[in-house]
Subunit: 217 residues, 4 copies
């Protein structure tokens, strides 16, 4: 008996607008899969949130699983897009690295969906990511940026030698990701509110410092 809701701001969406229907379903699915996982999310609820008939999920995506993959693809595409937009220009290596780490932190801070979806996909042994040729085609501009910045810094003597760019990429991500991914349990166990703006700002400073200190010569 989930109430039929229309997405915000769409009081009377066109009855025949396949693109809008698809987009509404995708947005609703992203929200539901992030909140409840592939197993916990309900096709009926996704359709209800999108304000459309349940059957349209099958029309547009084929199955719950394919809808899930479509969400993953959208989410990955979005983060890659965001990474592409990162303009470091001619910033000196240290300043460039600050930007990289900050941007990485901020993206995760703003997209808890992304974290939840990735965690669920990892539980599934990346089964969907593995089979998606679209996802394989998206390579991370960030890793190249990190490599370039690292190299430049090494040459200029502001970064130590011997830091692997993939390792650094994973470390930068991990320092932020774990904080947001485990926000609730850490807060409960420590008895603090890590979601508070002050806590987040403090963590952000720590992460940037931590990385810069770790790679200085």
């Amino acid at each position: 008996m989930a109430a039929r809701r229309r997405v915000l701001g769409e009081t009377s969406r066109q009855r025949r607008d396949p693109e809008a229907t698809r987009a509404a379903l995708l947005a609703a699915a992203r929200r539901e899969f992030a909140a409840k996982g592939l197993a916990g999310a309900r096709v009926e609820e996704i359709a209800a949130i999108a304000g459309v008939n349940k059957q349209l999920v099958y029309h547009h995506f084929g199955s719950k699983d394919e809808l899930y993959l479509a969400v993953l693809e959208e989410v990955y595409a979005e983060i890659r897009e965001r990474e592409k937009e990162l303009r470091l220009g001619d910033l000196p290596p240290r300043e460039a690295m600050v930007q990289l780490v900050s941007a990485s932190f901020d993206y995760l801070a703003e997209h808890p969906d992304f974290i939840a979806l990735l965690n669920d996909e990892n539980r599934h042994q990346a089964a969907h990511v593995r089979v998606s040729s679209r996802l394989h085609a998206m390579n991370s501009p960030l890793i190249a940026l990190i490599a370039e910045t690292l190299e430049k810094g090494e040459r200029e003597g502001v970064f130590r030698k011997g830091v692997d760019s993939v390792d650094l990429y994973i470390s930068i991500a991990g320092l932020s990701y774990f904080y947001f991914s485990n926000l609730r349990t850490l807060s409960a166990i420590f008895g603090v509110d890590l979601a508070a703006p002050d806590s987040v700002a403090s963590r952000r400073r720590h992460v940037v410092d931590f990385v810069l200190n770790a790679i200085r010569p």
Copy 2:
């Protein structure tokens, strides 16, 4: 449907051994919840793996949810126990920190189910952890150890000042956790096998180095 299997090593468990029944259910539940999450795991399958009647889940734990909480409590108790066993003795601060980071890495390397369970619990906004008085009573010995080591290193001038121990705790955990948590998607996206022993060993070295470099004066 699901074949009745006995847990490994228990070819003919006593018909009346409630403790053994409870333990078998808990072990099976841990495995299933880690593999499939709270929503995806099946009570029937858990009972089948434990080799007992499905209704005993309700007899011993009350509900699927309470069984899930029991698993979380067990898992947290186990990690706290492990932390308590860490003996740093009179190691100098740098060596002590190497031990701390290594032990943290190794625990996660050996317990992928812990990671999976935590991720699922975080998706549920730590709903179970929050209500468990048993979990609130368990405080991490590790965080105290880190604080002590950090302080000693600062005094001896081998660590820089201004590093917060909770921040450091989260960073140490995050550098290892993210790697194992996102092993599958990272491997798929990068086209490498991060689960390979060589990769893990290499990551271990990186993490230890990274932390030590980050906190050197």
Copy 3:
């Protein structure tokens, strides 16, 4: 288990006739709830009797409880409808009262399921009736008819004064209701068959006489 049966007279109901499906479920539910009560009736059996898939109960009614309420509403609507059809025209008060009492008796004689449903609902403290706005909107035409007839008879001097119409309504109902409601235990205890047509006819005469005698001047 339970064989798929089609409701009488519906040898091949349309596959897509939601109204017919609803009606078949309602009829089957009425029968089962009357025979076994809310707790004793089985959703599966109701669906089987209606010749439809068990899940349609949830599709059309939401839950077993809401189906039960729908049955109560139907049954009350039916009795109210029947009361409305009572045409006393210009009958003199005594003859009118005979009609009222007789009709009341006959309805209960012909609708043992109504009695069984009411008894069950009373065990539930009228929980369903209380929350039904549809039921609150149905007021009994009978009580008004009794009041009018009583008044007219008083004016004409054929009925005594001081009889309250609600009291009389309950008494008329009670004299018949108890007989049918407790038919089985009374028969068992007295060692007679109160369900036999002769017994019923005799009781009918008694009830009419009893009421008329009770209200004569």
Copy 4:
């Protein structure tokens, strides 16, 4: 997860007192069967209310069904006992009849259990009453009292002739029974509170009046 409760006032009943256990079970069963019916009552809950182990139901009564029969027998025995205690002495017939009707009304007013149990048993077509030789052996002293009183009144000319004593018995019972049996639905439908002491007192007067008027010459 029904909490284990001890019956009021029995904080530590003897561990080995079969009679007390039997009585506690019977009392709990009476309450539960009255409240929920045979189908709705739970053996575990009955045992919990009685403060004893569930298995003792089987020890003492054999099955849920036999426990139900034991409750019916107890309840019938109680009402017969009560009827036996009715002392009309040498009251004149009208006064005697007032006593009979009043006592009948009062018993039902004070024993809603009895009504609920009888209704449930009637739904089961008196299946338990029929097979109980103990119940068949209990004949109602009331019906004999009514017959005597009726006869005496007829002889003295204070009651009309032609009233059958069984019919009268059923009418007396019905006038009170229906009121209490259908208290909740009638109150809900009429929007009044028939359970209020004033309503009950008023009904009591009506019933006594109604019967006396109905049988006067």
